[in-house]
Point group: C2
């Protein structure tokens, strides 16, 4: 390759900082038209085996790396997906991002990551910014956006998949689960266990809010007592769970069933409860959410609700890919959740 590079010094590099070999260089070396090289790379079945072999040899010899920016401009397909998630610090999001990225990677796409945080308005400007890259598809978190962004997405005519949430009227495809039903199921789980007093520590975030609403509504509908309710900052960590339990401890006069908005919150609450001499689960039963490794790795493990984040990412990618390839939107895909009983209930 050293020899080739020297040649390139004179030709390709003359213009820019890149020692960039172009498709015309490959074509010239292989004795074909540039379009044929393009075909070898993109639609190999439309090229004879002999020609393809010559072209591949030329590509190899020159160390040609196709320029996807140029290809994208010409074909109007960027082969790129933008993913907007609030954070990748939690398994709730980094698991789907992982499988989503892997699935699209296998299909020849790259994923651009944008972190919106939990603040106000961060997502809107990020969406606007990533659309400038003309992604072939968009992954968004949650299902509720401003009218301005809805209009922008409609104008952009880009397939969108929204994950982790539920909505009657998703923007395009939605892959999530029913947070409200999940909260109610946790309440039922506790009720079936004979609990009569309930408490909740829940993050200030729309999805956690829906779970909380489902939980609280079911408890109230059964005429039972919600003895303590506390909204934590998002994203909620172990320390938020500990602080939350400290705050509500005075209210826990009798045996209580506590629902935490994540396993970190639940772990923090359990840790703090034990420190204060509250027996888990005898005096305080706890159920978390997420089935993070912590919930089974700590001793004893604690009860939680499992949602398959990896599956969400995979299905989201598959659905989005289908949309990109012209399939109609399936609308809403809701995944199941499973309550996993462990030592804390």
């Amino acid at each position: 390759m050293a020899r080739i590079k020297e040649t390139q010094e004179v030709t390709s590099r003359a213009r820019g900082p890149f020692a960039s070999v172009k498709i015309t260089d490959v074509a010239a070396l292989a004795g074909v038209a540039p379009m044929t090289v393009s075909r070898v790379l993109n639609t190999p079945d439309r090229v004879s085996a002999l020609t393809a072999a010559r072209v591949k040899a030329a590509i190899e010899q020159l160390g040609y790396v196709p320029n996807l920016i140029a290809g994208g401009l010409s074909s109007r397909r960027s082969r790129m997906i933008a993913a907007v998630v609030p954070t990748i610090a939690s398994p709730m999001f980094n698991e789907p991002v992982r499988t989503f990225t892997e699935t699209f990677g296998a299909a020849g796409y790259h994923v651009m990551l944008a972190l919106s945080g939990y603040g106000e308005g961060g997502e809107d400007s990020l969406i606007r910014a990533v659309l400038a890259r003309r992604p072939d598809g968009l992954l968004l978190t949650g299902a509720h956006r401003s009218p301005a962004i809805q209009a922008l997405l409609a104008d952009a005519r880009v397939p969108v998949v929204e994950i982790w949430d539920n909505s009657d009227r998703p923007t395009d495809v939605l892959v999530g689960f029913d947070h409200e039903a999940l909260g109610a199921a946790v309440a039922d789980f506790f009720i079936a266990d004979g609990h009569t007093h309930f408490a909740i520590l829940s993050a200030r975030d729309p999805r956690a809010g829906a779970r909380r609403h489902g939980f609280v509504s079911r408890v109230r509908a059964c005429g039972l007592a919600l003895v303590a309710e506390r909204i934590l900052n998002a994203p909620s960590l172990i320390e938020d769970g500990r602080q939350g339990l400290r705050d509500i401890a005075p209210l826990l006069g009798q045996r209580t069933a506590l629902f935490g908005s994540s396993d970190l919150v639940a772990f923090g609450a359990i840790t703090e409860a034990r420190m204060r001499g509250l027996a888990v689960p005898e005096q305080l039963a706890v159920c978390g959410f997420g089935d993070f490794e912590l919930s089974r790795g700590s001793e004893p493990g604690f009860s939680t609700v499992r949602v398959d984040g990896a599956e969400i990412g995979r299905i989201a990618a598959e659905q989005l890919l289908a949309r990109i390839n012209g399939a109609a939107s399936p609308g809403r895909v809701l995944l199941p959740f499973t309550i996993i009983p462990r030592g804390s209930t």
Copy 2:
């Protein structure tokens, strides 16, 4: 905007699926040349205030979103960075990725994320693939790559920052810390505490290997006993730590100081030790690595080594940005680490 859209139906949309307003549309509406619109967006100080205002009004009215693919092809600056990390499941990597993305976002760049896993060869093909997007810069994890990739990176003439590792001869910029010195420091920390018997649970990953080597070498150099050593799969989780402790438990006859390659491993080891009636720290002292929230959020907290992942990401972004803007490489930037003593030692 509805009216405008109708106009677009006829002109811009005629060709593709995008209702895409182009720079020429904006220019026509504002009564200027396309180049002037480009200047308003990219070099606003070279345009008169009056013209800029007219152009901005036109942009607003048309809902124009610039096409960065076209701009990137023309200017040969993609305003995009590719980040290749093994995983985002661990704070070790998702913290730097977060600050790296934020810092570049503030500078008008987007970050493409590629997950290489811990397997063989995954990174090479990913690097090759992302270079096809002509990123303005590259974030890589670790400092040791194949000659083929080194050559490719050199040919691409793209600034590279390598994080989380240490090397005498980085590819370009390196922002990391001295894992070997860190391991030795943990040994010293234990030795100063009067320990004479040592054990280690370490992930099969080059950086963890360097920490282990530093730890083991120091122990041996002091003529002390390494009673147990166990290599765990990467990435190592709580369960790996638990299993590791189960495996080495028979070897722990006397008071032993254990170094875990991450806080998850340490937490797992502590959890399992307690289950088996081994008192921590009286019979088994444990130090983790990473200062994950778990190390201070569990009760009692456990000792660990803190490395500021957020700072690594931030500095990596700043250095890479400087390189992109023509600054010379500073070579190696090594960050400090801090041993944080908590209840487990």
